[in-house]
Amino acid sequence: MDRSEIKSLIARRVAKELKDGDVINLGIGLPTMVANYIPHDMDITFHSENGFIGLGSVPESGMEDKDIVNAGGQFATVKKGGVFFDSAVSFGIIRGGHVDATVLGALQVDQEGNLANWMIPGKIVPGMGGAMDLVVGAKKVIVAMEHTAKGSPKILKKCSLPLTAAREVDLIVTEMGVIEVTKEGLVLKEINPEFTIDEIKSVTEAELIIPEDLKEMEI
């Protein structure tokens, strides 16, 4: 698989986690692609933390509106029924548990469900934006990412980078499989049949629990 195939596979699998009627916040990059795989008969409301719900598709060229951008600052559209609000209300929605799931990328995630995705000290310090609030506030936190960073593990025993939030991650979806964060540790729930368990273990620093009912990845 090339990288674009990997990304769309991950996005397709994450889309299956969403339920009819959910309010969802998608992070920038790969997570944004999840919106492309929502079945048409499913009613999902996307929350854009800069101040609205009802985030729609990218506007056609020439139809951009300077007053409507997504949380990445790109031109966006708002669907019928969408609603605007200010940043205080937007983050009240987030912290108040009114967002059913947030999907984010990660630099590192560990077996306690800790997440690091906002800075590399001395290298990249873009700021946390809304990520810390989203990870703490959303009912379900889904990490959508490539399994490794050019071969080096990102799913660790313990994150070494500054955390975005402690013990908040619920599910990790990569091109190799689907991993649930449980009190006992990381459980490999689904495996992409293109890989073996040993292959996955060899690029995962954290302990992986392999359940008896390990399923083939739904894609």
């Binding site: 007053d67 949380a71 600052g73 200010d86 940043s87 873009p126 700021g127 809304g130 609030d133 703490v136």
Partner: protein, 218 residues
């Protein structure tokens, strides 16, 4: 009382060393004419409170490129490489704050509250130096109000009393910043007579607004 002034007159109230809130989210809803006038008049050593530092060529980012900012409070600086460069070379002091915490610190300042408890940042470097308080078994950080000498905001439709109606996603930090500074200046994209905005559509009441800066129709 006449609140309507020119753009240049409005920014003449911003002096060296002031703490200034600027509305907008990645340049959307930013008072661009006020930013340009501040770049032109060259006021220095500002402390800026803003969601992000915009882009080098747009929004609050222009003030940073022009080295008018001494201290920045923001949630995100990744879209303006000059902010990172000045931060690394210690020319600019940057305080990164989670976006929801930044918004709420501004909101409570305007609402007369002394602090709030948030779960955001617990277990991260954001908790350093902050008081932790446990309520019903859950740990929160005590976050304090954030005020400013002045706030520069954008209104889509502003009447001559300063009542504001917004458009699209431009409310972001504008509504709350209007409440949290000693001097509040709204840049009016459209200036209308009192009564021309339906009372049901006013989001920011004019009582918060000191000056309406109007630079003509775009």
């Amino acid at each position: 009382m006449n609140k309507v002034v020119t753009i240049d007159e409005a920014v003449s109230h911003i002096k060296d060393g002031m703490t200034v809130m600027v509305g907008g989210f990645l340049s959307c809803g930013t008072p661009h004419k006020l930013m340009d006038a501040l770049v032109k008049n060259g006021v220095k050593n500002l402390t800026i409170i803003c969601n992000d530092s915009g882009y080098p060529e747009s929004g609050v980012g222009k003030l940073i490129v022009n080295r008018q900012v001494k201290t920045l409070y923001a949630s995100h600086i990744g879209t303006n490489s000059e902010t990172g460069r000045q931060m690394n070379s210690k020319e600019l002091e940057v305080h990164l704050i989670p976006q929801g915490t930044l918004a709420e610190r501004i909101r409570i300042a305007g609402a007369g509250l002394g602090g709030f408890l948030t779960p955001t940042g617990v277990g991260t470097i954001v908790e350093e130096g902050k008081q932790k308080i446990e309520i019903d078994g859950k740990v929160y950080l005590l976050e304090l109000p954030l005020k400013a000498d002045a706030a520069l905001i954008l209104g889509h439709k502003v009447d001559k009393k300063g009542n504001i109606a917004y458009r699209g996603a431009t409310r972001n930090f504008n509504t709350i910043m209007a409440t949290a500074a000693d001097l509040v200046i709204v840049e009016a994209e459209n200036l209308v007579e009192v009564g021309e905005i339906d009372q049901n559509d006013v989001v920011t009441p004019g009582l918060f607004i000191d000056y309406i800066a109007f630079g003509g129709e775009n």
